[in-house]
Symmetry: C2
Subunit: 353 residues, 2 copies
């Protein structure tokens, strides 16, 4: 493997000194980029793009050509695991992800088989090694997975949801069935992320997109517990370096202390939680990643720069901050504004290091 030329991102996640604050953007390879749309059109549908190692590599690298980003993230989808469980993932145009088979009963859950990531999800591992080679040490590569709870919401609802009716019904009415499902998913995610690490991922992020729709008690029992199991089961070193683990629960700002106690290296936070507040609560236990509202990119370049300055000042001096948006960049964002954002992080952050 090539030597890593820019390790700011990995150093910041481990709370080590850096020259400037590293920055990347969730969903940085995506529909806001015309070159992404062109590649996707050539692949056919979204899943075909995920499953083609050359094209997945191509779109992963596209944002690095435009922006001075400090990390690349594997181009894939959070629902690859349920797809490998034969639930029949598909994307209805304009409607988001859907499953042909929906889980509702004890029998549905019992019938699920934990996939073998190395074989059943080999296309993901192939993409990881392809990207890692293509990066040739330019920046680190992030692998990722959905959290067990988040995967379960899509599998039980059959797709996206507004009220999480079916999955919460399973959780409240038959908690033992929900625990069986989450346990299978946690085992699947451990294997999946470990295979990504073996294939070349240098950090991993667990996306708990829907943990924030739970109460504190239910979050601890049905989401955090299984992320804890994953953190404990991951390979934590590769190429002689720690492989940092980032937990990101959207709308999880009230539970940062509990998240930090899992042994994760860093927490992703969205804009509803202040960086300064989060930092004072988690102390030196974990690094923080975030948290500009992606909608700021709709404002003027000057306003974007002001917001970056404010957020850097809000975190303050010292180690342990990875700049990011608080959620994925929107498809309608202007790429030139994304560039203003990324550059501003590097321009204004040296004084804090």
């Amino acid at each position: 493997m090539s030597e890593l030329k820019n390790d700011r991102f990995l150093r910041a996640l481990m709370r080590q000194p850096v020259d400037v604050t590293p920055v990347w953007m969730m969903r940085q390879a995506g529909r806001y980029l015309p070159e992404y749309k062109a590649t996707r059109a050539s692949a056919g549908d979204f899943l075909s793009l995920c499953k083609n190692r050359e094209l997945a590599c191509e779109v992963t690298l596209q944002p690095l050509e435009r922006f001075d980003l400090d990390a690349a993230i594997l181009f894939s989808d959070i629902l690859t695991i349920p797809d490998a469980m034969d639930l029949g993932l598909y994307f209805a145009e304009g409607e988001g992800p859907k499953f042909r088979k929906v889980l509702r009963t004890d029998a549905d859950v019992s019938a699920l088989v934990v996939p073998n990531a190395a074989t059943d999800l080999d296309y993901v591992m192939n993409a990881v090694s392809e990207i890692r080679t293509a990066l040739s040490g330019r920046v680190p590569l992030i692998g990722f997975s959905g959290s067990p709870w988040t995967l379960a919401t899509y599998m039980v609802e059959g797709g996206s949801s507004k009220d999480f009716r079916h999955v919460k019904k399973m959780m409240f009415a038959t908690p033992e069935v929900m625990h069986e499902l989450l346990d299978k998913l946690a085992d699947s995610v451990i294997d999946y992320l470990n295979q990504q690490i073996l294939a070349g991922a240098q950090a991993v992020q667990i996306f708990d997109t829907w943990g924030g729709v739970l109460s504190a008690e239910m979050y601890a029992e049905f989401s955090l517990k299984y992320m804890q199991k994953i953190v404990s089961g991951l390979i934590r070193e590769a190429d002689g370096r720690v492989v940092p683990v980032i937990l990101f629960t959207k709308n999880g700002g009230q539970w940062l202390e509990q998240m930090a106690a899992t042994g994760a290296d860093a927490l992703g936070i969205d804009w509803t939680t202040e960086l300064a507040d989060a930092r004072s609560r988690v102390g030196s236990q974990v690094a923080l990643q975030g948290n500009m509202d992606p909608c700021v990119l709709y404002a003027s370049p000057e306003r974007i720069r002001t917001e970056v300055k404010n957020l850097l000042a809000n975190y303050g001096s010292g180690n342990g901050h990875v700049f990011n948006l608080g959620h994925g960049i929107h498809q309608f964002a202007d790429p030139d504004h994304a560039k203003v954002f990324v550059d501003a992080v590097h321009e204004f952050s040296p004084q804090y290091h």
Copy 2:
């Protein structure tokens, strides 16, 4: 006006002693009740139901016939004010509210005229007095409005939204236009709620359904500031009693201290914030209303009763708790389960008073 026979709800909002914890349910007059569906079918569409004083009164009272509720809430919609501003509210079947005219520019906002609630929204006031008379002192009547920020999201997006792209663009890119809009809305809400109070509302709730999609700083500037203006502009006494004001920001659990400082009498909280945590943070400044996840109603009666017990214990002994769901009851909830919920609050709460 008839003497109030059950004033637990008003007493709890003022943190005065009660015999049992009062309870009501957000959206208690709604589609989960077959009798509601029947009345609505006879009215035609949803807006016609809101605009018919007899039918609005009928559906407001329906849940009181089934359940031992401690308050009634005016049957209406949060979007009556923008409708009175001539934006052309309509409800597309299965798609939620929509506006024929959408606000996007400075000129759109400048052209808006603050409605005269007594005349332009007389159908709401007629419903309030009709309901108040029909209640004849059985329980207090709650009036309500959407918050300025929440109303603005619908007016600028043209309906419901997932990413709040247009309204946040206005907020970040042209904050002065957004402030002009919010100021007009705050003035409209003050007049609207004061007219409801004059017509007979005995408490009022401000629904800030979408304040929780903002950062702490933006929430203070674009949502809370205008709710503060409303609280300061409201008539706070009627029939020789205080008219309590309840602020409810969904997903606003991180900002309870700031909300309590507005001078509101009570804060609504959703299930993502623990009652005990909220109570320790707001102290004796305000009462708390909430916070069972409406999805608990999908569980067994025994599980519902356990959850009620847990939440009562979580709040603990003493005054200042109004039991409620953390959000509106779902259309798929079983009315028999709602009854189990309401009865459990009264059955298990005497020990805390």
